[in-house]
Amino acid sequence: MTTHSKSAEIFNRDFERTTWHDETLYFVRQKRDKAAFQIDDWELLRETASQIKFNVLSNLSEYLIQFEENALKNGIKVHWAADAREHNEIVFNIVSEYFEGNIPHDTFKGIVKSKSMLTEECHMNEYLISKGIEVVDTDLGERIVQLAGERPSHIVLPCIHWKKEEIGELFHKHLGTEKGNKDPKYLTEAARQHLRDKFLNRKVALTGVNFAVAVTGEFVVCTNEGNADMGTHLSDLHIASMGMEKIIPQRQHLSVFLRLLARSATGQPITTYSSHFRKPRDGQQMHVVIVDNGRSTQLGREDFRNSLKCIRCGACFNTCPVYRRSGGHSYHTAIAGPIGSILSPNLDMKANADLPFASTLCGSCSNVCPVKIDIHQQLYKWRQVLVKEGHTSATKTLMMKGMSKVLASPAVFKFSGKVGRMLMDKMPFMVNNSLNLWYKQREMPEPPKESFREWYKKNRK
């Protein structure tokens, strides 16, 4: 079994919980449909967004230089990180320099962070904490998983796998809420008070970047809670971590993406806050860290470069029947779901070789994608690459080779059909000796007396 299928099997042992997880996420998919279908030009918007992003990818180096130039003019400091390690070091150095090399572990010198999947990808929290800097996630869902010592299981809904009873228990333990109180309103209020204190007392705020505009040198951060803004506008130092594919050419292109993003993500017409940061506040420092971490390599893979169009809306998660029934953690990467399965092999083929196979290739992901990434086709293509690079088991390869021989030869096929009709493991979708896996929860078809070709010979020839 693969890493994903093992975790998924464990996830599925709790039938009711799997039902709940599936239905909760499917409800989000339905909200997305409702929002999308209110826009007559929805499909045209998707196509336009896809084309803008392709223009971005095809001019990326020029746009990055342009963004840097304009951000500098605006008083924003720009840093470049080749990989996760360099990103984390840059963030540490900025903070360290700000405090003049003196990082005592006191509450004033921690960081309040709003949602940034990039910092998850870079494992930044662990790094900074190991260096003595406290990092407080401020998105409610992220705070919940952080208190629990977990990682987000969904890029937009980080604790979608948690039940309110469990969150009540967690908050009781960490925030001192009433035991047994699971009312979302009560728990959200407790988190508001708990984090309000952090916002007021931290000097450093870290955010992600949803979009960065080349010609104006500004960047846009979208939240519903207002946590990015509470952090940054109260801070003296704002660091924004940005994957380099987040660039768009001009301000007017934001119109297309802001129309698509929240509708695709949660079915809202727009997020509550779409904040455009162009210049630091008086007396504030603003830094942008532009991160590559494998993106330039992916850009060079013709079959996979379109994955860089992703705007992290999570629509492909919500529609994915496999994700809904296996949970985000079964993907064992910062970005789970269908999009994660085509991004992650680029970062580490060996470790993530199982992910492109965690799909039925049903194609729903590609249909909901607001930038029209051909996700399921890339999953198919990654499978070809991973097999060729030797990341599949030897038995599977042997079996596939054998199967191909049988099926390529009519004489052998007819013969093995006669012998093997009783044995469904001779069918091509039965990976070697996996008959028991079919039979575990499913009956086998009843073998007929004769094959179609035998019938045909008797009746039509």
């Binding site: 084309q51 409610l140 119109s255 904040s275």
Partner: protein, 189 residues
């Protein structure tokens, strides 16, 4: 070679041949009554919409709901103290903030405000409740018209704000007032 130069060189080498940008002028042609659509949408996302004839009605609203509370505004008619000189964190404890929006967007019920309207950037977030005055004649249909109006406005910080702060992170139950304002009232004049 610095990381910057290495990254840019690799990107340059790996990026495909340049393709054109698509035409945006064909988008945003939806036709509906912008004021009705705006009000409907704003309410749907948790805001309250009140039509007013003049500012006295806003004053009445404030008097009835926030008497004896800390009310702040960027509008001279409503301002009680000079709060612009306070530090951002000193604005914690603001009960009601009143600002004026530059324009509203009908399709998503959002309003656009930037540095010049905000007094302080933290103000619309840190306040417990937020009031926004919006001129009916300044409601446009979609985000495409919105960015035409914004054009090359020279702001340091600008914001589309749509409804009160919210979260659904606990079992997808919608709760208003996550970190920002717990409620938003829009005065349509």
């Amino acid at each position: 070679m610095t990381s910057r130069d290495q990254i840019l060189a690799k990107v340059k080498q790996n990026q495909p041949n340049s393709v054109h940008l698509p035409d945006l002028s064909i988008l945003g042609k939806e036709s509906f009554d912008p004021i009705t659509k705006f009000a409907e949408t704003a309410v749907a996302i948790g805001a309250e919409v009140i039509e007013i004839q003049d500012f006295s009605e806003i004053q009445k609203y404030i008097n009835s709901k926030y008497s004896g509370k800390t009310v702040r505004s960027t509008l001279a008619d409503f301002n009680s103290e000079n709060w612009l000189a306070l530090s951002p964190k000193e604005l914690d404890g603001t009960d009601f903030l009143l600002v004026e929006a530059q324009f509203g967007v009908a399709e998503n019920g959002s309003i656009w405000i930037s540095d010049k309207d905000l007094g302080q950037r933290i103000a619309p977030f840190i306040t417990e409740y937020l009031g926004v005055i919006l001129d009916k004649s300044k409601i446009i249909n979609t985000m495409h018209q919105a960015y035409q109006i914004i054009g090359d406005e020279d702001y340091g910080f600008g914001l589309f704000l749509a409804g009160p702060s919210k979260t659904a992170d606990i079992e997808q139950s919608l709760v208003l007032g996550a970190h920002g304002a717990r409620g938003l009232v829009i005065f349509l004049k």
